[in-house]
Amino acid sequence: MKYMFEIVCLLLIVGIFVLTQVISNQFYFFIGFVILQYMVLATAWNILGGYAGYVNFGSAGFLATGAYTSVALINFLDIGLIEQMIIGGAMAGLLGLITGYLTLRLRGVYFAIATLALAIILETVVAHWDYVGGAAGTSILPKRKPELFDIMIVDRKTGVFANYKEYLFFLMGTVAVLSVWIARYIEQSKLGRGLNAIKDSEEAAECMGVPTLRLKLIATTISGAMMGVAGAPLASYLTFIDPLSAFNLEYAVNAIAMPMIGGTVSWMGPVIGALLLGTAQQVSSLWIQSELNLLIVGVLLVVFVIIAPEGIVGWFRKSRQGSRR
């Protein structure tokens, strides 16, 4: 069936909605949000890193661009979450486009270093920008009784969702499904094949008439925008934001580790990586100190990069091919 995947996506979104109505323990939404956020981040990273072979070390910078755009918007306009996510995504996408323009004429290594530089410059600027809290941070109170098209969204009695955690979980779940759909679409489209050609040999791709610069710019823009969308609700989720939490290295590391461990060649890799690593980290953070947790992620990343270059997905494919023989 042609639209099988789209139908599964729709069913998933409906399923996520049902979950918010059935489960009453807020803890699941609290950790579920983070796992879904990582899924978006990993999927976004993989569009550039996995398909085109351009490593982004500054994922946290794009995420924080989304987060701080919404902080500024809340302070300035007091608008709702969905608008924040759209505008936050647009800003991060613009940032991705600019980064691409500045660095993509260079070899991939320089792109990686440039993204890192960008994240740290942004962090320094935000730390000095008092309107969004500066270095000390600011607390964000989610809008009380938000409405969308005259429907009460969040209210204990009359709203669609009983509280903000459920609403945030639903939004992030929808974004996660959408971004996986986008990644899969890109993978199977001409854009994906072009990016793959760039990964294999940029010179050869150029010679064959692949518009490499344009494809790369499209990829940086989409990837950045997706990260921005994932970051936009961060302030509302934490109800507090400071540069340290928004530009956390944890994001940059996980954004790389999850696709690498899951497998970079297909859209499934980041999803599997995010589900496994994200769940493991969230659950284990209950009894392991969070630094140790991150150390495990780092070690896993290095081990996987060395022994299983195609990640878990590649592993399965290989063993399946092996059994067929």
Binding site: L102, L106, G108, I121, L249, V253, L295, V305
Partner: protein, 301 residues
Amino acid sequence: MATFIDLLLNALVIGILLGGFYAALSIGLSITFGLLDVVNIAHPTILVLGAFIAYILNTSLGIDPILAGLIATPFFFVFGWLIYQVYYNAFEKSGSESLRGLAFFFGLLFIIEVGLIIQFGVDHRLVEAPYIGESWNIVIGEEIDVAIPFRLLVAFVVAAIATLAIQVYLTRTFFGRAVRAVAQDMMALRLMGVDPIRVKRIAFALGVATAGIGGALMIIVLPIEPSVGRLYIGNVFAIVVLGGLGSISGTLLAAVIIGIAESIVATFFGPSWSPAVSFGILLAVLALRPEGLFGKTAGAH
């Protein structure tokens, strides 16, 4: 006006000294990244590891930090040797170093940093030595006097000696020439009957070994905590790229430029802006002049 000149003069002097210190931090990367084309993004974090070794030797045994750095150097040489061994076998041999090699070094950076946090926490650590805290005042005129902190002066002198030694080693010795030959044309070297991988391995180990002294200087100049390595990424990569990849004298000059820029910004706008300076220069160089100021092309197609 006099105070302005005073500030500017002090900023310049500090900047030059700082530049020497930065050169010592960058020289290892100039070898590994500039000459060997291995993007060791973990280099600044390995320097922080060196700083912590100097800290341990200093606080537990009372050894002078610079001596401690010298003691640590052979260990870093072995460490670098091992890193390159893994890197070569896992990535370079199969030609898949670009994406996975970067992720490997990023993971390494992360493991060292988090390991240090688990062991030492996030508090700032510092060492004790007679020259730390003292400074030398030169009175030039009314309201104008230049203060030269000894810790920066020591760092500058040690850095200058180390840089000079490496420069002489690379240009005057047989092995040093072999390293530069690897950078120029690996195939030609292979045809001459030399094993380029062996040369690269030793050169990489040498680059990492500089983290012994570099780390010691790091903790002499400023108190250290595990995550500062990330901030130094901006400095060292900006310097190596600006200096023209692999050019040792270019590295020194670029380091002084970055040092002065950072010191002037810190003096007139506040030290919390300094990370933005080096990373900003790095971005600008990458975008506008990737071949650096004095060297070979960095990586344009």
